[in-house]
Amino acid sequence: MSDLFRTIRRNAPRYVPLLLMLAIFVLLISGCTTDTPQNTFAPEGEVARKQRDLFYLAMWPAIGVMILVLGGIVLMCLRFRERDPNSRPPKQIEGNTRLELTWTIAPAILLLIVGVPMVAMIWDLGRSPDANAYVIDVDAQRYSFSFSYPDIKDPSGQPLFLPAEPHIPTGRQVAFRLHSADVIHSFWIPRLGGKLDVVPNEDNVLWLVADKPDTFHGECAEYCGLDHATMKMIVHADSPEDFQKWVDEQQAQLNATPKPTPVRSATPAATPSPVAASASPAPTPTATPQATGG
């Protein structure tokens, strides 16, 4: 072993680039703690937090394995460097079955262990929204998201329509029913949770929870054409009281001026197409009664 360290010391200058890279990596990792609008390391809701925790659960072992393997490679390169070009070839080792079986089976078991919390979380986050979830219909079209509130209706029965900047209540599930008017988009508010695609003919539902009042940035995460890059949204999370106040304001406004609100896009949310119904084998609730709460 001491021989090994001597080798490393002697060769250190030759590996300055490697060490430099390592330093850069550390610097990079430390950059993740910043508080930026779409930082997935700074969750502000149940879904995003669970997803980050699962990521950590896999990330730390992965970084450990990375350091072991890369470090092992570097050490072997130092230790087993040929010193004399005329030296005899080393012992010709063909393999070691027991060792190889170990490094086949051990990672398989380790990975399956990590798989358990993963599957558990798929089912946890994949469950239908609670009965008291607040439902908002999201219409994605190139290149914007717009929002309708089925619980806030004008006198003619049209739901409240917001072309941008929706409000949501905190501390409670918000079920976004996703409808596409044209191509596939993806609905993503990083600090509240992972994304779900907005697929034509298939009305996916994504539920998220915001912990405390804040303003959240989100954007389309599936390439959808020319201005995909600017298909963004800002979501305002209000405390239950503030949210109720906002709802009342909107309701009062609708009652006062019964102007015709723009009709939601052509996608028939109420009549799921036979394709969508049959092609999604899993319980993706499509406008089911239990999803329309609050």
Partner: protein, 647 residues
């Protein structure tokens, strides 16, 4: 059908024969008619490298635009077209054909054969590839490029439905894309059939399957993946063709279609495709590490079987590209587990490569540097792949720069590094000269640093919420620094490639001369002269063990030390006479070895495809022209004699 020998000579056959003979001796024409696997390999390699530079320039333009927030180097339209072409080019025009170049160059030499099973099919594969590649890139000119309008496809290399329909991507870019990939698929299929038959059927005596070099095994697995994956994308592209050009409804939501059909088909092809890109690289690394560690590959059977396991498992993981499409908990759980498990055979390979280094006597030549770089970088890519397999956390990473980082570690850090390793390793075999070692080291270190500088920060920008495929970003999202680093890294990579080009051009003329066996190799290609004669093996070798050539050179003495076999005793045993190519005579110096004649027919047939494709887009009148070329090519191919009669 292409095997019919002309029963009698007609004047037409006579003149065709004269033309072919003339072509054989013309320095330029001979390249168009060649059926020699080594020359086709060179054609494949050089073409793919040119496309590597083109695809790289596309990347540099994008990195220039993304170097800072709110930049104005490119417009949204240009950016979208460039990333579509960058992805398509790197997958179909660079990594696949560059791997194919090595299949062509190395497979016959490593299994002890004089050629591939179907030399003209091989030429057809190349010409179809180049026809498809040029056709695809011609799309740039379908709008007025001189006034700054790129006409290239703009639907992404994955071409998701329904964005790929005319309603959403008008213009001809996507037409060129779908037909271009269709043509390239034909080229890949032709190569796939050819290499499977060659490997299974044309091995030298004694070269049993489990004596084959690992590179040959990986070629075999890759070829099987190609012949089973390509038809799937072919059908998807045909369906898209019917939708775009003839008003069919495969992907039209208004007619009730399910847009996810495209994704299922694309990724059912696309995931095996990932392994089509990386398995040849695994093969190359598995050849280089033992030679420069001077030690056999650790656990050959495990490396081979893990490669086969990857081949099978690659068919059961495609939904991990679709976690966020809402397929439901059952599908996501099942594919999450299968994706986790595919890391096992991949990990086995990495551990076995490390086992090969352990106890070795490592020579740090340029090929070895790149090979070790491959192992290290692929490890990082593999681990971030495991992170991706964690379905719920992948909801956050899907379609972010974290994914971009992951697959560049796999496909650049894995495949491209290994392909560079292969170039440095086998260059002496085909030119009789070494690539410059000093420049090689500079090339390697610059590329390693540039590569990590480009792609490691992308992990961070992805986790900070930066989606892929955006041409601009605001300045207050915390992405600025990471993007700047990535852009600096990208230009560093470009510099290292430039150094490689200089090295290549200089070495090909003035490089240090290389002997037949310059690296103290272990496999059959090092038993023949550098560069190899056109008939490869004057006498077909007889193989007695894995790493046969090594065992001819070294043996263990009584103390268990590895010592050279006494000079003179190392003469290779060979098989005279029957050699897989019909040489009936003693063949010293290659006299009497019948080799297939050059032929223009593969080129003529391949030319038919771009005519048909252009005709479908612009004017049906061109379609019959293309069909005629195909028919003439195939019938000529079938009727011309494959080799000249002994004069």
């Amino acid at each position: 059908m292409a095997t019919i020998a002309a029963p009698r000579t007609s004047p037409l056959a006579e003149s065709l024969r004269n033309a072919r003979q003339a072509a054989e001796h013309n320095p330029i024409l001979s390249w168009f008619a060649t059926v020699d696997h080594k020359r086709i390999g060179v054609l494949y390699g050089v073409s793919a490298f040119i496309f590597f530079c083109i695809g790289g320039c596309e990347a540099l333009l994008m990195r220039a635009q993304l170097a800072g927030p709110n930049a104005n180097v490119l417009t949204n339209d240009e950016f979208n077209r460039l990333f579509t072409m960058h992805g398509t080019t790197m997958v179909f025009l660079v990594v696949m054909p560059l791997s194919n170049a090595f299949f062509n160059l190395m497979v016959p030499l490593m299994i002890g054969s004089r050629d591939v099973a179907f030399p003209r099919l091989n030429a057809f594969s190349y010409w179809t590839f180049i026809a498809g590649a040029l056709f695809l890139n011609a799309s740039f000119f379908t709008r007025n490029i001189f006034s700054g309008d790129l006409g290239a496809p703009d639907g992404g290399w994955f071409g998701y439905a329904p964005l790929n329909l005319r309603a959403y991507t008008p213009g001809h870019g996507m037409d060129f894309w779908m037909l271009g990939i269709q043509i390239l698929g034909i080229a890949s299929l032709a190569g796939g059939f050819n290499f499977i038959v060659t490997i299974l059927n044309m091995r030298a005596p004694g070269m049993t399957l489990f004596r084959m070099p690992v590179f040959i095994w990986m070629t075999l697995v890759t070829s099987f993946l190609i012949i089973f994956a390509m038809p799937v994308i072919a059908v998807a592209l045909f369906e898209l063709t019917f939708d775009r050009l003839f008003g069919a409804n495969f992907f039209n939501p208004a007619a009730g279609a399910n847009p996810l059909l495209w994704q299922h088909m694309f990724w059912l092809f696309g995931h095996p495709e990932v392994y089509i890109l990386i398995l040849p690289a695994f093969g190359i690394v598995s050849e280089i590490l033992p030679v420069f560690a001077r030690k056999p590959l650790f656990g050959y059977p495990f490396v081979v079987f893990s490669g086969i396991a990857i081949g099978f498992m690659s068919w059961g993981v495609w939904v991990h590209h679709m976690y966020t499409t809402g397929l439901g908990t059952v599908a996501n759980s099942a594919f999450g587990i299968s994706t986790i498990l595919i890391a096992v055979p991949t990990g086995v390979k990495i551990f076995n490569w490390m086992g090969t280094l352990w106890g070795g006597s490592i020579r740090f030549k340029a090929p070895m540097m790149f090979a070790i770089g491959t192992v290290a970088m692929f490890t990082i890519g593999g681990l971030s792949g495991v992170l991706h397999s964690m379905v719920p956390s992948d909801y956050q990473q899907q379609d972010t720069y974290f994914v971009v980082a992951h697959f560049h570690y796999v496909l650049f850090g894995g495949a491209i590094f290994a392909l560079f390793a292969g170039i440095y390793y086998w260059f002496p075999k085909f030119t009789g000269k070494f690539l410059n070692e000093r420049l090689g080291h500079i090339n390697f270190w610059l590329m390693l640093i540039g590569f990590n500088l480009t792609f490691f920060p992308m992990h961070i920008s992805g986790l900070l919420g930066m989606p892929r495929r955006i041409y601009t970003y605001p300045s207050d999202y915390g992405w600025n620094l990471w993007n700047l680093l990535s852009s600096i890294g990208a230009f560093t990579i470009a510099l290292s490639v430039l150094i490689f080009i200089i090295n290549f051009l200089w070495s090909i003329r003035k490089g240090k001369p290389a002997s037949a066996d310059p690296w103290d190799g272990r496999t059959l290609e090092w038993t023949i002269p550098s560069p190899p004669p056109h008939y490869n093996f004057a006498e077909i070798p007889i193989v007695h063990s894995r790493d046969d050539f090594w065992h001819r050179k070294y043996q263990e003495d009584a103390q268990g030390n590895v010592v050279p076999v006494l000079a003179g005793a190392a003469h290779a045993p060979t098989l005279s006479g029957g050699d897989g190519h019909g040489a009936d005579h003693d063949d010293h110096g290659g006299h009497g070895i019948h080799l297939p004649s050059p032929s223009f027919m593969p080129l003529i047939a391949a030319l038919g495809f771009p005519f048909i494709a252009t005709g479908l887009i612009y004017d049906y009148a061109l379609v019959p022209v293309g069909v005629t070329l195909l028919v003439v090519g195939f019938y000529g191919w079938a009727l011309e004699p494959a080799a000249e009669e002994e004069a």
